[in-house]
């Protein structure tokens, strides 16, 4: 088993880590950096609970090796809020009640943020398609979609 020294920026803070080859980005975030907002649901790239931004694009962090992220910039749910203010999508999820058990929420927030970054005014169909990779066992999709619509229509 080989270890690799990697440097990555996580939520704006530069981190140096020694990671074994098989360690995923998800494990590095949770187990090395104690950023437990990012969740492990299926560990197979299906549920989206582990979604983070890698160089600005959403990825399943369970399907990405930490060693591949050397030099990269990562944003997790902990990094969405800044200067003591929630991201508008976080405010909207609270307003709409788009949270039940909360396990899917970090991934939903990251996927929604990424959608709004690439398409500030998505249609409902575009919102639903963009969130296809974020499964919610509480079946709270309507309120999640309403939250993204709220942000989309507010600017």
């Amino acid at each position: 088993m080989s270890y690799h020294r990697i440097t990555l920026s996580v939520n704006g803070s530069v981190e140096q880590l020694d990671v074994p080859s098989q360690m995923t980005l998800l494990q590095a975030l949770r187990d090395k950096l104690a950023l437990t907002g990012t969740k492990n649901g299926c560990n197979a790239g299906e549920c989206g609970a582990c979604t983070v931004l890698l160089n600005g694009e959403p990825v399943n962090s369970c399907m990405t090796l930490a060693v591949e992220c050397d030099g990269a910039s990562v944003v997790t749910v902990e990094g969405l809020a800044g200067n003591g203010e929630l991201d508008p999508i976080q405010d909207a999820i609270i307003d709409e009640g788009g949270v039940q058990c909360g396990f899917c929420t970090p991934g939903v927030l990251i996927s929604s943020r990424a959608l709004l970054d690439r398409n500030p005014h998505p249609t409902e169909a575009e919102i639903r398609e963009a969130l296809v990779g974020n499964l919610c066992r509480c079946t709270g999709y309507v309120r999640i979609v309403e939250a993204v619509k709220q942000v989309a229509s507010s600017r």
Binding site: M1, S2, H4, P20, S21, Q22, M23, T24, Q27, N40, G41, C42, N43, A44, G45, E46, G48, T51, L54, E57, P58, V59, N60, C62, M63, T64, L65, V67, E68, S111, A114, L115, E129, A130, V132, G133, N134
Partner: protein
């Protein structure tokens, strides 16, 4: 009992070679214990499920600039192995000249998975269900393959041997897929039948592509590829030939759809029965041919 649906990855060594030649040599020297890797979206699932036990994963993304998407007005489109599916989907050249490729990518999994997933990886994984393979087949894709003796070309149509099996040899790395210029007046569709509208694997996938061709007796050429209904992504040659030889209309399309259904050899699995798959090949091929025929006519 593990709380996780899938266990963590087993131990392996991640190798990042400096060049394609280093990568080919390493892979050839470690045949049977090393595997080339792009996005890893299929590899990690198989390793977690205990199906694959490679000692080395050799990351071949972007080696020697193999992450380029380039359109040349004379030569056509070249998609580097490292180009992820989301990049394919938003490429203006793909959207205007090869929209079928964008449609096929869109049907794969989710946005976040497509940030990692690549068309070349989908091809090398050689799943009969591979969603982008049909489009690559009907568009006449040719693979650039780098091996220990340098580069060679492999037409995609002769690439697949069985589920997960290809003609690649130890040391071979697919560095790109190239597509010729699309013929005038072409149209394509990918009809994917899954258990839900988005994101699932296909029960049946039917790709249909057509264009006017004066060298065909019917005046038209149709290309068809079928997913999830044979050990390899299937081209129903009899159906294609029938369409080139008979005047195109409702009856010819119906007969060609029957030929397509007869050419496949599906299995029963959790997503659908063999009988259902065969029936759906017939229906979806007919639907696809009708759509393409209507659109080709409109353009003419």
């Amino acid at each position: 009992m593990s709380l996780n649906a899938h266990p963590e990855l087993p131990e392996f060594d991640y190798i990042r070679p400096a060049s394609l030649m280093d990568a080919s040599r390493f892979l050839a020297q470690h045949a049977g214990e090393a595997r080339p890797m792009l996005g890893g979206t299929d590899i990690f699932v198989r390793m977690r499920d205990g199906m694959w036990h490679d000692q080395y994963l050799v990351d071949v993304k972007n080696l020697d600039g193999t992450d380029k998407l380039h359109f040349d007005p004379q030569a056509g489109l070249i998609l580097g192995a490292g180009v992820n599916m989301n990049r394919v989907m938003v490429s203006p050249e793909v959207q205007t000249r090869y929209p079928l490729l964008a449609d096929a990518c869109r049907s794969v999994a989710s946005y976040q998975l497509r940030t990692r997933a690549t068309i070349v990886g989908n091809i090398c994984n050689a799943s009969p269900a591979g969603d982008t393979i049909g489009a690559c087949l009907v568009l006449g894709g040719v693979l650039d393959v780098h091996g220990v003796n340098g580069y060679r070309e492999i037409p995609l149509a002769g690439f697949f041997l069985g589920p997960g099996k290809t003609i690649l040899q130890p040391g071979d790395i697919v560095t790109a897929i190239r597509f010729p210029l699309p013929p005038q007046g072409n149209t394509g569709v990918y009809l994917k039948l899954g258990r839900n509208t988005w994101s699932d694997l296909s029960i049946v996938g039917v790709t249909v592509y057509g264009y006017p061709d004066a060298s065909a007796a019917s005046g038209y050429r149709f290309r068809i590829a079928l997913a999830s209904v044979a050990p390899v992504p299937l081209i129903p040659r009899d159906a294609e030939a029938y369409l080139s030889q008979n005047p195109i209309g409702r009856e010819t399309i119906r007969a060609a759809a029957n030929l397509a259904a007869e050419s496949c050899s599906p299995i029963d699995d959790v997503r659908g029965s063999a009988k259902y798959r065969k029936a759906m090949v017939k229906n979806l091929t007919r639907k696809g041919l009708e759509k393409v025929w209507e659109s080709v006519n409109r353009k003419a």
